[in-house]
């Protein structure tokens, strides 16, 4: 599939409908069955894909609507991770989980999600994976000598799954590592674990780093300066970063460090319900084009649209697509 210049995509999650949130909570309260929940998830994912298509997004995800949050979906699938307390008040809460021995190798089941996504759309697709650094921050380590050792072992176990995804046809894989921003001191081993995760994975690899989006609010603040120059060691092709909410000041870091990566520029603030105009989106893209050539620029929201109401999320994605079209037109496309 050929993509236009300035391809538009999403960071991963789509709006979590209130009814789905309530049904997930019902499931945790044992009031609906797993089978019913699976069917509900299938239906919600199809709707999320359709919304992205209607908004005009070029590279789609499944909206991550099967996921309670970015951690627990992997906690449930990582062999050897123990969930000490599986009940939750809200589905969105984190499990209390721990690792108490070497992680064994086993498939994680992400390929099924990807196949479902592929079957639902003709457009280019992307699958998002929570990275080892972020997972080590939420799974209690009671076995490995260090967080780094734990992260490296997560990478060892997840790497084959990524290769299976590629075999199933995945061409775009995004690794989510927001916890880098909360623990900048970990970056050197964080990047090492990232590289182990994506080693010999033959797909376009992006790494998404934001300042957190739990409950639709930032978990940390600061400057992306902490990423440089160490992030340049990452064996990825693209960085997707949060700029709409924070302003574009840190974009200059791309120029300052002659960053070779593609930039996935956040042009939609997902932490507010105010819908951007296409003109504002276009302005943000133009600013990014001052530091990154057009062939290396991708257009995205700052992070997942999980916490936005569906109508707002749809309007924001539509504005993103429309704003991108304005710039493409200016560039003669």
């Amino acid at each position: 599939m050929s993509l236009p210049i300035l391809p538009t995509t999403v960071v991963g999650s789509y709006s979590m409908p209130g009814w789905l949130e309530r049904l997930k909570t019902e499931y945790f309260a044992r009031r609906i069955s797993r089978h019913d929940l699976d069917e509900i998830h299938d239906t919600a994912v199809k709707a999320a894909i359709k919304d992205q298509e209607l908004a005009g997004v070029d590279i789609l995800t499944d909206g991550e609507l099967r996921r309670d949050n970015m951690i627990d979906y992997f906690v449930e699938r990582l062999p050897g991770v123990q969930i000490d307390r599986s009940s939750k008040k809200f589905y969105y809460d984190f499990y209390d989980s721990a690792v108490r021995g070497t992680l064994p190798m086993a498939p994680l089941g992400l390929v099924d999600d990807f196949r479902f996504l592929r079957a639902c759309t003709d457009r280019e697709t992307k699958i998002c994976i929570t990275g080892p650094h972020s997972l080590t921050k939420r799974i209690r380590n009671e076995f490995y000598p260090s967080e780094e050792a734990f992260a490296m072992d997560i990478a060892r176990v997840m790497n084959p799954e990524l290769k299976e995804l590629v075999k199933a046809g995945a061409r775009w894989i995004q690794i989510d590592e927001p916890y880098y921003s909360g623990f900048p001191g970990d970056l050197s081993w964080g990047v090492k674990a990232l590289n182990a995760l994506v080693e010999e994975v033959d797909a376009k690899i992006a790494v998404h780093i934001c300042y957190g989006n739990r409950y639709g609010k930032p978990s940390w603040e600061g400057s992306y300066r902490y990423l440089f120059p160490r992030i340049l060691d990452a064996k990825v092709q693209q960085l997707t970063l949060e700029f709409a909410r924070r302003g574009g000041e840190d974009m200059d870091l791309f120029r300052e460090f002659a960053c070779p990566f593609e930039l996935g520029v956040g042009v939609i603030d997902v932490k507010t319900q105010a819908v951007e105009t296409p003109e504002l989106v276009a302005e943000r893209i133009r600013k990014a084009l001052e530091v990154v050539p057009v062939e290396r620029l991708f257009v995205l929201p700052d992070c997942g649209c999980f916490h936005l109401p569906r109508d707002i999320a749809f309007a924001k994605l539509s504005a993103m697509v429309e704003g991108t079209r304005l710039v493409r037109k200016e560039l003669g496309h």
């Binding site: 909570t25 008040k89 300042y211 957190g212 739990r214 639709g216 609010k217 978990s219 603040e221 932490k271």
Partner: protein, 483 residues
């Protein structure tokens, strides 16, 4: 009949309880009550600690006909503090007769509005007038509003509480600094500043601590005093005179601070409020036999009071409602003599009562519940609560709370000193408002709902007792970032 004693002190409630039981049995025997009505009756005995309140000694709250029994839902509330010995039976007879008459007689009450939600009632317009014309009220009474507070002064200004608050804040700054996450500008917001006394004390203490520990945070501090009354903000200036270089004064709507301060979204490290939530328009809900009802109210003056006021101010009784309306629009200067206007205002406020009826929640518009609170959340909370319950929805407080949280910097926190109900069981142990406090309304705040809305917005909500004054009913709410 279920008799619910919402008050735990033996005397004088025991005598009243006996009277109530005997009266209702006699009503049954004399044929004033049908057996089915008697069986469905709920009688609540309250002790209203607010001497000035909106209730008569006996109040009957009605609902629509119950589906199963085909009888009107009736709840009887007796304020045991107001009951005059020997007069209870007569009062109950009168109010029950009024409640069961169709249509209800109008001659004994002068209605000032139609039935409406409590938060839309003109009672809150009186409250607004009080804060906008506080100086007029204080001049007429000869005392400041703080003297009306329990203990005669605001707990906002307790020096030890302020010192602890500053110490906690300083510790947070230190921790953020050690993690290189301390922003260049340190924003602190106080909403509802009163006389500015607390802000002044806080700044004094912060400056001293900063100097003592050599941290040099002060030049980075931006202290915002926010209030919806420009007059109040003006009055607060003198209290922070020594720190004006650090202060900004902002007129803001307590319901929606983020609207005014959107440029500070995710930037404020600490927000503080004292006794603001208990003075924001609220609603009450009743769960009865598994069904939820909203309490609707209508302001009225007992007709004897209306006549007394009419006579005192040389007005026809029929003109009172219109005059009240003008007073609320224009203030006391609607009267040729301003002092007469204030006197009229105070007399009407003193006599003002609320009658009630219950409306099933499903008959109300979808947006009846405040933002952030879905009916399914409410049902979940009530799953473990007492089966029959009357509680505050605290719609104004929830709205304010929800529209303040987005201002917080990551790891920033909100602190609220107020009167909170932190467990729904508490509603069965005493009366929690609304009452009248001088010219304003005071009503307890449902901390359980705040906790629910907070959690869904990414904050754990905790309550600590205000241990700085013995016997204080105040609690301190504070938020922590939810992982």
């Amino acid at each position: 009949m279920i008799l619910q004693l919402n008050h735990l002190q033996r005397n004088p409630v025991t005598a009243v309880a006996q009277d109530v039981i005997e009266t209702f049995y006699s009503l049954l025997e004399e044929g004033h009550l049908e057996q089915a009505q008697f069986a469905h009756l709920r009688v609540h005995l309250d002790w209203i600690q607010y001497r000035q309140n909106f209730r008569e000694a006996v109040m009957v709250t009605q609902g629509r006909k119950e589906r199963a029994a085909g009888l009107p839902l009736l709840e009887v509330h007796v304020d045991t503090r107001q009951v005059v010995p020997g007069a209870l039976r007569e009062e109950i007879l009168r109010t029950m007769a009024r409640a069961t008459a169709d249509p209800a007689p109008q001659a004994d009450r002068l209605a000032l509005e139609e039935f409406t939600s409590f938060s839309s009632s003109i009672a809150w317009e009186f409250n607004r007038l009080y804060w906008h014309r506080l100086a007029d009220w204080e001049q007429a009474t000869g005392r400041s509003y703080e003297l009306a507070l329990p203990g005669g002064k605001s707990e906002a200004n307790h020096p030890a509480a302020v010192a602890d608050c500053v110490a906690d804040f300083w510790t947070l700054l230190r921790d953020l600094e050690s993690k290189q996450q301390l922003p260049a500008e340190i924003f602190v917001l106080e909403i509802g500043v009163g006389m500015g006394t607390r802000a002044g004390l806080w700044l004094d203490r912060f400056r001293a601590l900063d100097q003592e520990r050599g941290t040099n945070y002060c030049p980075r501090l931006k202290f915002i005093l926010g209030d919806y009354s420009p007059a109040t903000l003006d009055r607060s200036r003198s209290a922070v005179q020594k720190h004006l270089d650090l202060c900004s004064f902002v007129v803001l709507d307590a319901f929606n601070p983020i609207k005014t301060l959107s440029f500070l979204r995710h930037k404020v490290l600490h927000v503080h409020l004292t006794n603001v939530y208990d003075n924001l328009p609220s609603e009450e809900l009743v769960r009865r036999d598994g069904r939820l009802y909203a309490v609707q109210v209508r302001s009225y003056l007992p007709v004897a009071e209306a006549h007394r006021i009419a006579q005192a101010f040389a007005l026809p009784v029929g003109e009172i409602a219109r005059t009240v309306s003008r007073l609320l629009e224009s203030g006391p200067e609607y009267f040729p003599e301003r002092s007469r206007g204030v006197a009229f205002w105070q007399e009407v406020w003193k006599a003002l009562r609320l009658e009630e009826k219950l409306v099933a929640l499903e008959e109300l518009p979808d947006d009846f519940l405040p933002g952030g609170l879905h009916v399914s959340h409410l049902e979940e909370i009530l799953r473990d609560a007492p089966s029959d319950l009357r509680f505050h929805l605290s719609s104004g407080a929830l709205e304010s709370f929800r529209n303040t949280l987005p201002l917080l910097y990551p790891r920033g926190y909100l602190q609220v000193q107020d009167i909170f109900v932190t467990d729904l069981d508490e509603y069965r142990l005493g009366f929690h408002g609304p009452g009248k406090l001088d010219g304003s309304i005071v009503t307890w705040v449902n901390g359980v709902l705040l906790r629910e809305v907070g959690e869904r917005a990414g904050y754990d909500v905790h309550f600590a007792p205000f241990h700085y004054r013995k016997g204080s009913r105040t609690s301190i709410l504070y938020t922590t970032q939810r992982e």
